[in-house]
Amino acid sequence: MSFKDIELNMGPQHPSTHGVLRLKVSVDNELVLKIEPVVGYLHRGMEKLWESLTYAQVVPMTDRLDYIAAVSNNLAYVLAVEKLMGLEVPKRAQYIRVILAEIQRLASHLAWVGFMANDIGAVSVLLFGFEDREDFLDILETYAGGRLTVHGLRVGGVPYDLDDALIVRIRKSLDELPKKIKDIETLLTKNRIWRHRTEGIGLISAAEAIEHGLTGPALRASGVAWDIRKDIPYSSYEDFDFDVPVLHGGDVYDRYLVRLEEIRQSTGIIRQALDKLPAGEIMAKVPRILKIPAGEVFHSIEAPKGELGFYVRSNGTDKPERVKMKSPSFINLQSLPLMCRGNLFSDIVGILGSLDIVLGEIDK
């Protein structure tokens, strides 16, 4: 065995591949020479399955794609179908959707901080991140009955109204969050080991990021201010005042900071939405059996992991002819070999973690 060119199989069974990803890595001692992601171990044929389900039946299936952020998947799909139907969703339902989606973003980002810290070796932060996330999952569970696979949205609106008790609960969780974030920041942001492990690692420039189709926090950490909530607003996001955090380092540390800032911005959005929550209906008039005239539509939202889009093509029946999901993780993972150039073997896990991939979404 030569030390100069060791071929390592990271995964599909490996502690830090976030599921069943396999990375074929060539290393020269510790230096990464080549890296090739191999996906498909979680391929469930979702897109084929959707062709045999009605439009409403697809919604719970989308929960299973990005299982860390189920509501975001629901939202993207539901908005695409509504766009195809030309359906106007009541304002209150739109606001509730925003609240749910942002809670889901908080949950997803908090889980990410935990995963990421665990990859770098700070095991405790995994637990802290998960504890904080659990609080928001509990809110989703109170709202829709499901923790992870929420099925929180329906075509035409939202299934349940936000009652006062839940609003109080959400506000309480939001008030507690900054302190929890501060603890995580004390453990990570200023920590010298954390900074050694993340600063200048996994570099990708703005031009390369666009070239590789990167979206979401990874793109914003490279210096491109691209947030669909701001640039192509959907579901009343134009009503809310929030900043899009942009950093220019393009490294793992900046991706971490962008996500932390997004957590703060999301709490602001939720607060505004709760304050301004209009009265009214929560469901539009939707026929019991959805039959959508033939057409095609693409709609994308800013999911926690990046741009999540659904292409829906109908043929006039109650079942879609084709639903294609544009998953952010799938595109983001492609740039992993580029980010890993010249870095060490230990950095692969950090860079992979910083991309925030979910295999359920990549493999569909």
Binding site: S16, G121, A122, S346
Partner: protein, 344 residues
């Protein structure tokens, strides 16, 4: 042969031999429990608390499970080295305990019962040397597994231990310099005479020694040879059952050993604290051995505390820390210590 002669010449040495094997194992078990509970409490969880009182029997349950597990050795492995490696790691850390004194000699009539197996004039050197032998076990284990992740873990381990031996030696040197002896018992006695512990006299030595000791024992944040998020389990990835248990126990025994060394060298071993304060003289009532245990426990706790807090270093940063910071710092520290000694 008189009855007392039999007791003193046979029974007590045999008892000591048994004790030197049982004491590290007992400490290991306590340490495993301590680590799991303390890490859990620091992570807002409770940790194992069902087996026995507050889960104290959990390590026994784990050990029992490991004894019952199938002992797997893959075909490609080098059978001899694969089997020798865990024994070697275990042996080196247990052997070192022979030279670690546990307390003052106890007088029973005319017989002086020493709480160590062997008092060597070069005790410190022997302990450091013996504990370093374990790196051979790690290399053999990593190499003999004939697998890539263990090999990388072993490679890291070698470089890490080689680098951190130097600051350990240099900082130990400053202590030796003051105590005018490499004998561990003599070092403690010197602290007793000087009425000040070296930890307070030479704080930089202590900190550098402690950091290097963490690295030497492959513990977080320097647990690179077994970094589970990168190398699965490092050099013992392919080990299972009893062989894995040997590696596991040896690691904890090593931690106990290093903590003992720190206590002996820097914190007065079995001496009661505050010898200068007359008001606290009652502390001397407690036997030295217990003081010793309390101090060791504190450092074991510190191990766990650090593990629960810090992320893991990267390989190059680890080496940089050793060569760019710790070694120059310990050299300067030695120089300052020498000057200090000269002036005093």
């Amino acid at each position: 042969m008189t009855n007392t002669g039999f007791v003193f010449d046979v029974l007590i040495p045999v008892g000591k031999i048994v004790a030197v094997i049982l004491y590290p194992l007992l400490m290991t078990i306590v340490m495993i429990w301590l680590e799991r509970r303390v890490v859990a409490l620091m992570q807002k969880r409770l940790g194992p608390n069902r087996v026995g009182f507050q889960g104290i029997l959990q390590p026994f349950a784990d050990a029992f499970k490991l004894f019952l597990k199938e002992d797997i050795m893959q075909d490609q492995a080098d059978p001899l080295l694969f089997k020798v490696a865990p024994v070697m790691v275990m042996f080196s850390s247990l052997l070192a305990f022979c030279f670690v004194p546990l307390g003052e000699p106890i007088r029973i009539g005319t017989y002086r019962l020493t709480l160590w197996i062997a008092q060597s004039p070069v005790g410190l050197l022997l302990v450091l040397g013996l504990s370093s032998i374990s790196v051979f076990g790690v290399i053999f284990g990593g190499w003999a597994s004939n697998s890539k992740y263990p090999l990388m873990g072993a490679l890291r381990s070698v470089v890490q231990i080689l680098s951190y031996e130097i600051p350990i030696g240099l900082t130990a040197l400053s202590v030796v310099f003051f105590a005018r002896s490499i004998d561990l018992v003599e070092i403690v006695n010197h602290q007793s005479r000087a009425k000040i512990w070296f930890g307070f006299m030479l704080p930089v030595s202590f900190v550098v020694f402690w950091i290097s000791a963490i690295a030497e024992t492959n513990r977080a944040p320097f647990d690179l040879p077994e970094a589970e998020s990168e190398l699965v389990a490092g050099y013992h990835t392919e080990y299972s059952g009893m062989k894995f248990a040997f590696f596991y126990i040896a690691e904890y025994a090593h931690m106990v050993l290093v903590s003992s060394l720190v206590v002996l060298m820097f914190f007065g071993g079995w001496l009661a604290p505050f010898p200068n304060v007359p008001a606290l003289a009652f502390l001397k009532v407690i036997p030295g051995f217990f003081w010793y245990l309390i101090k060791i426990m504190f450092f074991l706790y510190l191990y766990v505390w650090i593990r629960a807090t810090l992320p893991r270093y990267r390989f190059d940063e680890l080496i940089r820390l050793a060569w760019k910071w710790l070694i120059p710092l310990s050299l300067v520290n030695f120089l300052v210590a020498a000057l200090l000694w000269y002036i005093l």
